[in-house]
């Protein structure tokens, strides 16, 4: 059970993220849901790479030879960097839309249909 805790957290975070994206009407809240979802994936990747008793893979003054795999952490880091760029672009879009439509409500921003 204890082993699966990170994965349970992943499932919970995914559920929260998806429900925010589907249920909320404010654009900024939707972006927050997207970020929660990204965190869920990052946590998943980190949890996959964990090894029992392992320490962080830093070689300077390492006390123990058992280390966790650094590759998932590198993947996670890359995904965080991409997440920052994504969030910045999305927020810029939200800002422009607010300036044009005067609202951030997704139900009001609906000029493109059909």
């Amino acid at each position: 059970m204890l082993w699966n805790l990170p994965f349970i957290a992943v499932v919970l975070l995914t559920a929260i993220g998806i429900s925010i994206i589907l249920l909320k009407k404010n654009l900024v809240k939707i972006f927050m849901g997207l970020n929660v979802l990204t965190s869920a994936v990052n946590l998943f990747i980190i949890a996959v790479g964990y090894r029992e008793g392992g320490i962080a893979p830093i070689f300077t003054n390492a006390p123990s030879p058992v280390m966790v795999m650094p590759t998932p952490q590198a993947l996670c880091l890359t995904s965080i960097v991409i997440g920052v760029a994504t969030t910045a672009v999305l927020l810029a879009f939200a800002m422009l839309l607010y300036r044009m439509y005067g609202t951030n409500d997704v139900e009001a921003i609906r000029e493109l249909r059909g």
Binding site: L34, F44, T71, A85, V89, L90, L97, L112
Partner: protein, 524 residues
């Protein structure tokens, strides 16, 4: 010396040149606009040239493996790594080279076109930075042999194309389209990252060939496959995840739209690459094949029926793009559905796949041409509403000719290239399931009907007084369209040569999983 340097580093240069050009572009633009144009055009010409060299090299000498950061380019498995390809590997096989060819041709024409069509944009240096970044990302997507690298490139392409779609703000409408597109892409990217986590957790590898070799097709792999197909089908604009396509395609600048078509096809390439090379026979190929077929048929039918009532010329073409994506999915899906059946794949499976793959390049050419002609019309008259157009055939003769070529090709009329690939699809799909072939033909007829209507309302009729001052578009735009139109005709007149030269090796590369694995892992 320099020749050897270029030939050993071709795949890396293909990505490095547009990246470098993109980053230098704002600095060069400080000097003068003319310098900026020359810089963008020159770097794109070099990229296309490198692309053509790479294609020739791959088709004559086989798969090109290029390892980043190794001491020699071909050393995919370092001596002390325990048999695991730990570095990022570019694996350019015939299928990747095929996609590179599309990018080289369409990218060159589109940049040439946009030199005139986009000169009035605000801060064009960033426009071209994003544009070159998109080209670099698409080249990376089709060349890479590493799952995570694919994810990074797909995210770069999403970021760049979202910025480009929203570039002309247009009272917020373009931003809305960009937002829709980017939300779908971001969700797709997250799905893809989940897939990477699942596969990495099971097989300790990110290299596609390595994963393919170790693939067990467990329950987790099935979940990964579902997420993968959903993410990539959404990115390539297949029904039911197509809702971003008409918005993004219609509101993006026309040159960007033509490139977005290619970017969607790179996602399609990803879909084919993962199902064929990574999962191959270990997957339940009949079910997945039928899933792709159903996605394809839905895209064809819904795309064309939604296209007919449209009033906006680019929106109409965007729905046709969805419909044409369906043909590719249909052709390759049939190939996937009979993958394990030796007699079926030899009698019609390969031909169906040839049709589907051939349709990719044909679609990129004629759809790019059509979007560019639509852009040329909008460039001159400033509206995209079909009801307000008319009589342009008197003043824009070349554009009209190019439009006729493009629309006959998309409707599958001989001797244009659309006919060649559609015929391959009809013939082979008829042997697989006659009903599907009939749907495909009906969709083709509806496409023709729709384009006859569009042609009539744009070009026919008496010259309208409000368009009296309309002239032909500038020479670079005509040249960009002209190259595409020439290729549309050439591919239609000599289809057998094209299929034998470039399409058949690409199909073979997709089917031949062990060849792909042994190119990297060495005699698997």
């Amino acid at each position: 010396m320099i020749e050897e340097f270029i030939f050993t580093n071709l795949p890396a240069l293909m990505v490095a040149v547009p990246l470098l050009a993109a980053f230098v572009c704002p600095l060069v633009a400080q000097i003068s606009p003319a310098m900026r144009k020359m810089w963008v055009m020159g770097s794109m010409a070099i990229t296309s040239l490198l692309g053509l060299l790479l294609v020739m090299r791959v088709y004559t000498m086989g798969t090109f493996v290029y390892v980043f950061g190794a001491s020699t380019p071909g050393l995919s498995i370092p001596l002390d790594s325990g048999g695991i390809p730990i570095r990022i590997v570019f694996t350019v096989d015939a299928m990747s080279a095929f996609m590179d060819l599309i990018i080289a041709i369409v990218g060159f024409c589109v940049i040439l076109y946009s030199l005139s069509s986009d000169e009035r944009r605000t801060s064009p240096q960033y426009y071209y930075t994003l544009f070159l970044l998109l080209i670099a990302a698409v080249i990376g997507m089709v060349s890479t042999g590493d799952l995570f690298n694919f994810f990074v490139f797909i995210e770069i392409s999403s970021l760049a194309s979202a910025g480009l779609v929203a570039y002309s703000v247009e009272k917020g409408r373009a931003v809305e389209a960009g937002l829709k597109y980017f939300m779908v892409s971001a969700l797709g990217g997250i799905f893809l990252l989940f897939v990477i986590g699942i596969l990495y957790g099971q097989y300790d590898a990110l290299n596609i060939a390595m994963i393919a070799q170790r693939m067990q097709f467990t329950m987790l792999d099935k979940i990964a496959l579902v997420l993968l197909v959903a993410a990539l089908a959404a990115k390539c604009g297949a029904v039911p995840m197509h809702f971003w396509t008409p918005d993004a395609y219609s509101l993006a600048p026309s040159s960007v739209t033509a490139m977005l078509v290619v970017a969607s096809q790179a996602s399609l390439y990803g879909l084919f690459r993962f199902t064929f090379t990574m999962y191959h026979l270990s997957l339940n190929y009949v079910t997945i094949g039928w899933t792709i077929i159903v996605l394809g048929v839905l895209s064809m039918v819904i795309g064309v029926t939604m296209a007919i009532p449209q009033k906006d010329v680019k929106r109409l073409m965007a729905y046709h793009a969805i419909s044409q994506t369906g043909y590719m999915l249909l052709g390759v899906g049939v190939g996937l559905a009979v993958l394990g059946n030796e007699t079926a794949i030899n009698s019609f499976g390969t031909i169906a796949m040839e049709g589907g793959i051939f349709h990719i390049i044909n679609h990129a050419l004629y759809k790019g041409l059509l979007f560019l002609t639509a852009g040329a019309i909008i460039y001159r008259i400033g509206t995209r509403d079909l009801n307000r157009m008319g009589g342009l055939g008197h003043s824009m003769k070349y554009t009209m000719i190019f439009f006729i070529i493009g629309s006959l090709a998309i409707a599958g009329i001989p001797p244009f290239n659309g006919f060649a690939s559609k015929l391959l699809i009809y013939e082979s799909v008829y042997l697989f399931n006659p009903f599907l072939a009939i749907i495909a033909m009906v969709v083709s007829i509806l496409t023709l009907a729709s384009f006859v209507k569009v042609f009539h309302s744009i070009f026919m009729g008496p010259p309208l007084p409000e368009f009296a001052s309309v002239r032909e578009v500038p020479l670079p735009m005509l040249l960009g369209m002209g190259i595409l139109a020439t290729l549309v005709i050439l591919f239609g007149v000599f289809p057998q040569t094209v299929v034998n030269l470039i399409v058949a090796p690409a199909v073979h590369a997709l089917i031949d999983q062990s060849g792909y694995i042994s190119a990297i892992l060495g005699g698997a």
